[in-house]
Amino acid sequence: MAKTHITMKVNGAEVEGLVEPRTLLVHFIRENLGMTGTHIGCETTHCGACTVDIDGMSVKSCTMFAVQAQGSDIITVEGMANADGTLSALQEGFRMMHGLQCGFCTPGMIMRAHRLLKENASPSEQEIRMGISGNICRCTGYQNIVKAIQYASAKINGVEFREAAE
C-alpha cells in the first residue's frame, strides 16, 4: 500500500514517518516512534488506555489515523515528567495515593487527567469522575485515582492536600 509522509511534534520534538493511510496513530506512536507508554486495551475507543493529548485535547489514539495527526502537537505519557526528570504532580499523585496497580491504564489516565486539570484546575470529585469516565481501570476501583488527581490539583494550585474523609 502506498505510504504517506507525515510530520508532527511529539513531546516537543519534531518527528516524521512514512505510513500507510490506514495506520492508526497509536501504532505510529508505539511502533514507528518506539514510544510504548501509550497502550492498547480495546481498539474500539472504549477503554482510553491509548489516550494522548493532541493540540490541547484528549484523544484516543486507537481511533485516529496517523495521517490525521499531520502537523499536530502531541503529548504522550513519556512527555509528562518534569524537565529535571522528577515525577510531575500528577505522576506523584498517582504514586502517593496508590492510584495504579497493574499500570496498564495509567498512561491514558494520566494524559486524560492532565487535560482535565488544564480545563479545570480545581475539579470536584464528581467532575473528576465524569472527567475520566472515558478511561477504564480494572484494578483500582477509581477511588484512589480520584484522590491522585485531587492531590495533583492541590499541588498545582499550591495548596495543602487533605485526603477526603472516608
Binding site: M35, C42, F94, G134, T140
Partner: protein, 806 residues
C-alpha cells in the same frame, strides 16, 4: 548515646517493613510509561500472527483455501490444523485433563473458535491475509442451553470422545457429559432433610462472565534453530508451569525453553491457562525461523479465551424453626463450553466449590457437580477468586438470605446464630476442609455497629410502608454478605497441577553492602509484589525494603514456583519469603556471635541487627553482618548470605469478611443507587495496608460489575451478544460506588507470618452483597430470588413481574 542516635521507632520505620503503607516501587516506571509489557517487546525481524475465526458456533469445516491469502503482500504462512498435525500439536492438553483443539480439526465448536493462523510481516498484513482465507463450513445444530446438554437427542459435540465412557474425573453419563463430582455424606444429609422443620430450595445461577484484564493475552515466541532454544515472552500468571507444559507437549528439553513474563497488565485468572495463540505463535516461529508476536484484540479476548462462572446451583437448606441449620444439599450444573479448560488444581474438577458450607456450622452436607459441554468458548477460570470459591460463596450467601426470608428472621441474626464459633477452630467442615482460624461474630458485630445496621433496617421498614402508601416509588435493600474463602493452593497432599505440587519459592541473596535481591516463583499482575515482598524481608531480617530488589517472571533466573492466582502468593510464596529470610537470619546470628565474641544464644534480634542480651551497647547491625559474611565468617562456615526456600503449606488459609451494601432502586426505571458499601476484611496479618485497601477497592468494583450487569451472553443460536466493551458492562468512575473499608486481624496459625491473602476476598464477598441487596429490596413484594446480573432492565422487569409497575 548522642541526639543523633535513632530511636527504636525510627529504626523500625526506616525499614518500611510489614504493616507500613510503603509507596510502590513499580509506580516510578509505570507512571512514566516505562513499564515493559508483552506488546512492547520488539525483536529483530519479528512477524505478526492473527487468527481466522469461526462465525459459526457449531459447524463442520469442509475446506480451508489459503491460496489467495498467500498472495497478499506481507503474508508468509497460513497455519491450519493440518500443519499442526505434522508436529503433533493440532490438539493440546488442558489443565483439567481434557484436550482442546488448537486449530479447528474437522469441526468448530464455538463462535470465534480459532480456525487458521495467518503469519505476516506486520499486523495489518496479517489482517489482510485473514480476509482472504476461504473457509467452507457446513453448519450444525448448536447446543447453547446447558440444561439440554444431556437430552437424549442433544447433538454430539465432541466426536473425538465417541465411545469414551469415562474421562479424567470418572464416568461420563452422556456424550456431552464431562464429569460428576460428589462430596459429603448423602445418606446423612438426606436424613437431615427428611426430619427438617423448615427447608428451602432455589436454583441459583451464577452467570457466565469474563475476567477481561485491560491488557489482553499476548506473546512473542522466538525459536533459535541453531541452539534449538525457544524463548517466549508472554502474559503468564504462571510462567514456570507454562515452560513445563511447553516442554511436555512440544517435546523440547526444558532447559532450552526460556519463558519470560514481563510486566502484566492485569490477570484476574485470564492469564493462567495455555491458549491456541501461544502454540500457534511458537509453531509459526519454528516454521519461519523468525520471532512471531500474537496479540489478542478485545473481542477475541471476550469471546475466545477463558470465560468464568456459568454455574447453575440448585441449593437446599434444612433448618429448625428457630433457624439453626441442619443440612445443606447442592447440585451444580456446570457449563464448561466446548472443552473442559478449567484452570483448577488437577484433582479438583469443580475447584474448591466444597467450601460451599461457608461460614456456618452445618452438621452435614452433600454436593454433586455435573460438568457438561455446550457450543460456547472453553475456560472456567477463577476470575479474581480461588477456584470456584466465588460461586460457592454466592450460593450459600444467597441461600442463607432465602432461608432468613422464609423464617421471617433478620439475615444478619440468622448468620450470627449459625456461625462457626471461635473455639471451634481449627474447624472441620462437613465437606472436608479444615478452617485454620476465624472470629466471625466479632467481624459481623463490628460491621453491624459501624454501619448502624439496626437503624438502616428501621429506615427500610419506614420506606416500605411509604411505598405501600404510594408516597415513594423507591425501594431499599440491605445486602448482607459474610464470606469465608479458601485460598493459598496449596498443600501437596491435595493440590497439584499436572503432577507438580503447588508449593512456591523464594531465593534471597544479600550482598556485602547490606542490599540484595529476592527472586520469586510468583508473578505480579498489579498486586505490587516488588513492594510487598521486600517488606516481609525487611521485617524478618532488618534490611530496609528499599535495599531489596524483587524479581519475578524469568524462568531462567527465578526459582520454580506455581505462579500467582487463587490468592496464593501471600499464603504460599509469602511464607517461602519468611522461611528463606529466617535461614539468612540464622546464619547472620552465627556471624554476629563470632564477631561479638559471644555464644549465639546470648544474642537477641533487635529490629535491624543482633544485640547481646543484657549488654545493649554490644550490637552488630545487619548491614555490618552482610559485610562480614563476605570477609570474616566463623572458621568452617561458607561465606556469603544466601538462602532458598520451597514452601509446601501445611494447610490452606481461610480469609473472611463481613460486607454490607445499601441500595435504593427506582421501580419505574430499574435504576439503582448504591448508597453505601462497607467491607470489613480479615486477611490475617496485614503486610501493606495501602495495597490491601487498593485490592479491596478493585475487587469490589469487579464484584459490582459482575452482580450488576457484566455478562457473556449467547443468543439461542450460539452467537455471543456481549463481545465488546460496548455490550460487556465495564464500570467507569461514574458508575462505581464509593468504598468504605475496615478490618479485623485473625492471623493464620500455620502461616509463618500469619497472613492469609486478600486480593480475591472483595470479589468473593462482594457479589453476594450486591445481589442480596437487590433481592432484599424486592423481597417484600413477594419474590424469593431474582437471578443476576441485576441491570436496570432486569430490575424493571422484576418490578413489573411483581406487580409494582403497571
Amino acid at each position: 548515646m548522642n541526639d543523633m542516635t535513632p530511636t527504636r521507632e525510627q529504626r523500625s520505620a526506616a525499614l518500611e517493613g510489614m504493616g507500613c503503607k510503603r509507596k510502590r516501587v513499580e509506580d516510578i516506571r509505570f507512571t512514566q510509561g516505562k513499564g515493559n509489557y508483552v506488546d512492547d517487546v520488539k525483536l529483530p525481524g519479528m512477524l505478526h500472527g492473527d487468527f481466522v475465526r469461526s462465525p459459526h458456533p457449531h459447524a463442520r469445516v469442509k475446506r480451508i483455501d489459503d491460496s489467495e491469502a498467500l498472495k497478499v503482500p506481507g503474508v508468509l504462512a497460513v497455519i491450519t490444523a493440518e500443519t499442526l498435525k505434522t508436529v503433533n500439536l493440532a490438539w493440546m492438553p488442558t489443565l483439567a485433563g481434557d484436550v482442546q483443539m488448537v486449530l479447528a480439526d474437522g469441526k468448530v465448536l464455538f463462535q470465534n473458535q480459532e480456525v487458521a493462523f495467518v503469519v505476516a510481516t506486520d499486523r495489518y498484513a496479517a489482517d489482510d491475509g485473514i480476509n482472504k482465507v476461504i473457509v467452507e463450513y457446513e453448519p450444525l445444530a448448536p447446543l447453547v442451553d446447558p440444561f439440554k446438554s444431556m437430552d437424549k437427542d442433544a447433538p454430539v459435540l465432541r466426536e473425538d470422545l465417541a465411545g469414551k465412557t469415562s474421562g479424567a474425573h470418572g464416568p461420563r453419563k452422556h456424550h456431552n457429559h464431562i464429569f460428576e463430582w460428589t462430596v459429603g455424606d448423602k445418606e446423612l444429609t438426606d436424613a437431615a432433610f427428611k426430619k427438617a422443620e423448615v427447608t428451602i430450595k432455589e436454583m441459583i445461577s451464577y452467570h457466565r462472565t469474563h475476567p477481561s484484564p485491560l491488557e489482553t493475552c499476548q506473546c512473542v515466541c522466538s525459536f533459535d534453530k541453531i541452539k534449538g532454544e525457544l524463548t517466549i515472552y508472554g502474559t503468564f500468571q504462571a510462567p514456570h508451569v507454562i515452560r513445563t507444559v511447553v516442554s511436555l507437549i512440544a517435546k523440547l528439553p526444558e532447559q532450552k525453553i526460556h519463558v519470560i513474563a514481563p510486566d502484566i497488565g492485569g490477570g484476574f485468572g485470564n492469564k493462567v491457562g495455555a491458549y491456541p495463540g501461544y502454540i500457534c505463535a511458537a509453531v509459526a516461529s519454528i516454521v519461519t525461523g523468525k520471532p512471531v508476536k500474537w496479540v489478542e484484540d478485545r473481542i477475541e479476548n471476550l469471546t475466545a479465551t477463558s470465560f468464568a462462572r456459568d454455574y447453575h446451583m440448585t441449593t437446599e437448606i434444612a433448618a429448625t424453626k428457630e433457624g439453626k441449620v441442619t443440612g445443606l444439599r447442592v447440585h451444580v450444573l456446570a457449563d464448561h463450553g466446548a472443552f473442559d479448560a478449567c484452570a483448577d488444581p488437577s484433582k479438583w474438577p469443580a475447584g474448591f466449590f466444597n467450601i460451599v458450607t461457608g461460614s456456618y456450622d452445618f452438621p452435614t452436607a452433600h454436593l454433586a457437580v455435573d460438568g457438561v459441554y455446550t457450543n460456547k468458548a472453553p475456560g472456567g477460570v477463577a476470575y479474581r477468586c480461588s477456584f470456584r470459591v466465588t460461586e460457592a460463596a454466592y450460593c450459600i450467601e444467597r441461600a442463607m438470605d432465602i432461608l432468613a426470608q422464609k423464617l421471617n428472621m433478620d439475615p444478619a441474626e440468622l448468620r450470627l446464630k449459625n456461625f462457626i464459633k471461635p473455639e471451634q477452630f481449627p474447624y472441620h467442615s462437613a465437606l472436608g476442609w479444615e478452617y485454620d482460624s476465624g472470629d466471625y461474630h466479632t467481624a459481623m458485630r463490628k460491621m453491624m455497629e459501624t454501619t448502624g445496621y439496626a437503624a438502616l433496617r428501621k429506615e427500610q421498614a419506614d420506606k416500605r410502608a411509604a411505598f405501600a402508601r404510594g408516597e415513594t416509588r423507591e425501594i431499599m435493600g440491605l445486602g448482607v454478605s459474610f464470606f469465608t474463602e479458601i485460598v493459598g493452593a496449596g498443600p501437596s497432599k491435595n493440590c497439584d497441577i499436572l503432577g507438580i505440587a503447588m508449593f512456591d519459592s523464594c531465593e534471597i541473596r544479600l550482598h556485602p553492602t547490606g542490599a540484595g535481591i529476592a527472586r520469586m516463583g510468583t508473578k505480579s499482575q498489579g498486586q505490587g509484589h516488588e513492594t510487598t515482598w521486600a517488606q516481609i524481608i525487611a521485617t524478618e531480617i532488618g534490611i530496609p525494603a528499599d535495599n531489596i530488589m524483587v524479581e519475578e517472571g524469568n524462568t531462567d533466573t527465578a526459582p520454580y514456583g506455581l505462579g500467582t492466582y487463587g490468592s496464593r502468593s501471600t499464603p504460599v510464596a509469602g511464607a517461602a519469603i519468611a522461611m528463606a529470610a529466617r535461614k539468612i537470619k540464622a546464619k547472620a546470628q552465627m556471624i554476629a556471635a563470632y564477631r561479638l565474641e559471644v555464644h549465639e544464644d546470648d544474642l537477641e534480634f533487635d529490629i535491624d541487627g543482633f544485640r547481646v542480651k543484657g549488654l545493649p551497647e554490644k550490637f552488630m547491625s545487619m548491614k555490618d553482618i552482610c559485610w562480614a559474611a563476605y570477609n570474616s565468617v566463623p572458621p568452617g562456615m561458607e561465606p556469603g548470605l544466601e538462602a532458598v526456600s520451597y514452601y509446601d503449606p501445611p494447610n490452606m488459609t481461610y480469609p473472611f469478611g463481613a460486607y454490607l451494601c445499601v441500595m435504593d432502586i427506582d421501580v419505574d426505571t430499574g435504576v439503582y443507587n448504591v448508597r453505601r458499601f462497607y467491607a470489613l476484611d480479615d486477611c490475617g496479618t496485614r503486610i501493606n495496608p495501602m495495597i490491601i485497601e487498593g485490592q479491596v477497592h478493585g475487587g469490589l468494583t469487579e464484584a459490582f460489575a459482575i452482580a450488576m450487569g457484566q455478562e457473556i451472553r449467547y443468543d439461542e443460536v450460539g452467537n455471543v451478544v456481549t463481545g465488546s466493551f460496548m455490550d460487556f458492562f465495564m464500570p467507569t468512575a461514574v458508575e462505581t460506588p464509593h468504598w468504605e473499608t475496615d478490618f479485623t486481624v485473625t492471623p493464620s496459625p500455620h502461616h509463618p507470618i500469619g497472613a492469609k491473602g486478600v486480593g480475591e476476598s472483595p470479589n468473593v464477598g462482594g457479589v453476594p452483597a450486591f445481589s442480596n441487596a437487590v433481592n432484599d429490596a424486592f423481597s417484600f413484594l413477594g419474590s424469593t430470588h431474582i437471578q443476576m446480573p441485576h441491570d436496570f432492565w432486569r430490575n424493571w422487569k422484576a418490578a413489573k413481574q411483581l406487580g409494582a409497575v403497571a
